[in-house]
């Protein structure tokens, strides 16, 4: 279980949904709030949202799967995002991603089998003037190089 999240609890989820359902077009707002609380959005939440918003399950499921951010399973304890967009590419991000993959023994876009770390690509963090960029558990890192990356990789495996 990733750090800082509550265990899934359908009553707590129902509270969150009830609190937010009056927003105009509330589906994304609710999905975000659930993911913020639990670290992911379990399958069980979909019919609950559908019922509260008077939508079909298929509609809510369709929204949930459209967006890259929403997780159907918990992420690793640490989430390391490496920017893989053009400005970071120009500053050597591809080699850094390969280095991270080999150190962690996993591929970009996966959660490691032991559940310790998720390694994910992100397409621009808006830090393109201090590229390459990364984000570890929500913390931003610019001017990434092999040395700084290695330190992050140690942190990400704790």
């Amino acid at each position: 279980m990733a750090l800082g999240y509550e265990a899934w609890d359908s009553e707590r989820a129902a509270e969150i949904i009830a609190e937010l359902k009056s927003h105009e077009g509330a589906t994304l707002v609710i999905l975000h709030a659930l993911q913020e609380a639990f670290g992911y959005v379990p399958q069980d939440a979909i019919p609950m949202i559908a019922l509260a918003l008077n939508l079909s399950r298929a509609e809510v499921h369709g929204v949930f799967t459209f967006y890259h951010d929403f997780r159907k399973a918990p992420a690793g304890r640490h989430v390391l995002k490496l920017c893989s967009a053009e400005a970071c590419q120009s500053a050597g991000s591809d080699a850094l991603a390969a280095r991270a993959e080999s150190t962690l023994g996993m591929t970009l876009g996966e959660t490691r089998a032991d559940g310790v770390v998720s390694l994910e690509p992100v397409y621009c963090l808006g830090l393109c003037a201090t590229a390459p960029s990364a984000m570890l558990d929500g913390r931003l890192i610019g001017r990434l190089d092999a040395t700084r990356l290695d330190a992050l990789l140690v942190e990400a495996q704790r």
């Binding site: 369709g62 967006y67 053009e86 590419q89 808006g126 201090t130 931003l140």
Partner: protein
Amino acid sequence: MKLKIFIPRDAGAIAVGADEVALELELCARKRGVSLEVVRTGSRGLYWLEPMLEVSTGAGRIAFGPLTPGDVGSVLDAIAADGPHPLRLGLTEQIPWLKRQTRLTFARCGVIDPRSVEDYRVHGGYEGLERALALTSEAIIDDVIKSGLRGRGGAGFPTGIKWRTVAQANAVQKYICCNADEGDSGTFADRMVMEGDPYMVIEGMTIAGIAVGATRGYIYIRSEYPHAVEAINAAIAGARRAGYLGPGIGRSRHDFDIEVRVGAGAYICGEETAMLESIEGKRGVVRAKPPLPAHKGLFGQPTVINNVLSFAAIPFILAGGAQAYADCGMGRSRGTKPIQLGGNIKHGGLFEVAFGITLGELVDDIGGGTASGRPVRAVQVGGPLGAYFPRELFDTPFDYEAFAARSGLVGHGGVVVFDDTVDMAKQARFAMQFCAIESCGKCTPCRIGSQRGVETIDKIINGDRASQNIALLEDLCQTMKLGSLCALGGFVPYPVLSALKHFPEDFGLAPPRLQAAE
């Protein structure tokens, strides 16, 4: 004596250690018995000098940077002694890189406290709104038209004309939507403004609301920008407390309020109709036009959609600056363009300047060439759908029409520099791959074509019937250009074809004539 010190809270500065510098500053000051007032500002946009610290003096602010926490003690000593320091940059306003700019939109960014509506007002904030409240809807829109402002999100559509359409529409509820999805690689100006001068965006949206008769606004911010979300939310709360949002804004008869919506990692939601779908809580699938959002937008109601920088330009224009704004620029591109220099560049950051500056001046002169010290080989302008330019086209001036004439895109003003180690076939492949990942799936040329594009480029890279496959790729690009509903599928051929045209040797072909002729 109390020292007044400014350190950015901008995400770009934080990413390179601004928080650590701020923490160390408090510690060092306590040790030395110096009393401090620290203001966390936006960034000045000179990112190679971040983290930068400024101290207020009788002569103006003096800057130091780039700092590590280890430098802070000696910087404090130098400030106390008014002495030299190797990282002392002199008066901030006199730093040539900043002095050369024409900062209209970014005048306050890095200067004021973004959490303080008072500081905003002291620096000219809400003058535009005060004046707008005394004008008729038509007079406000006339000012926007007179300024020549064209949308800063990419397409360059005249902002005033869009507002007029919504003003003339008949509806009980109209909406103002601010597009803060800023998904283009190489761009960060929206983020900087939201973090460094958030009240300006809110003021711009409020003026739009008054002009067109809308009472509700949304800011759609991408989830990759948590600092911007926090800054805008704080400013919305501050504006409500000060009576600048909510019922009867500025003691007038106008109501206006704003809500933030956070994206969820889909590039296509920067396209305006996909953004509307997303705010409505749906999949971010592009809508066919017509109807235009100005007629049937959010929840089917007339809606103004503008980019962050378009709204950000409004307060200056309404505060009597319409003519001054129009006086900058070239041709039909009026005003200033906040250009973002990024990637492998020595002096990267935010450079706001009148339209007309050439790509070469930006890359070589202002940007100082590559960070790696190797020769510049290619520059991508306008994000992932923008063309790659070789050095031979560095005389292209920043102007919507001039870029279009060279099959390029000004877009949101991102300039990404690559050195001579770049493999342009790989870049072309990435453009197609990005399109495949981010396609909303509505049209076949984009959804399937981009996948075929990746495969075809792979074949070319592997030398598999290269000339046939290049012909196939060109054909595919043509199909995507003509058969795509929006500019994701429609424009991705630009980076691909520009790479092929200007850098054919990377695809295993003979070098281009352009270079051979030199």
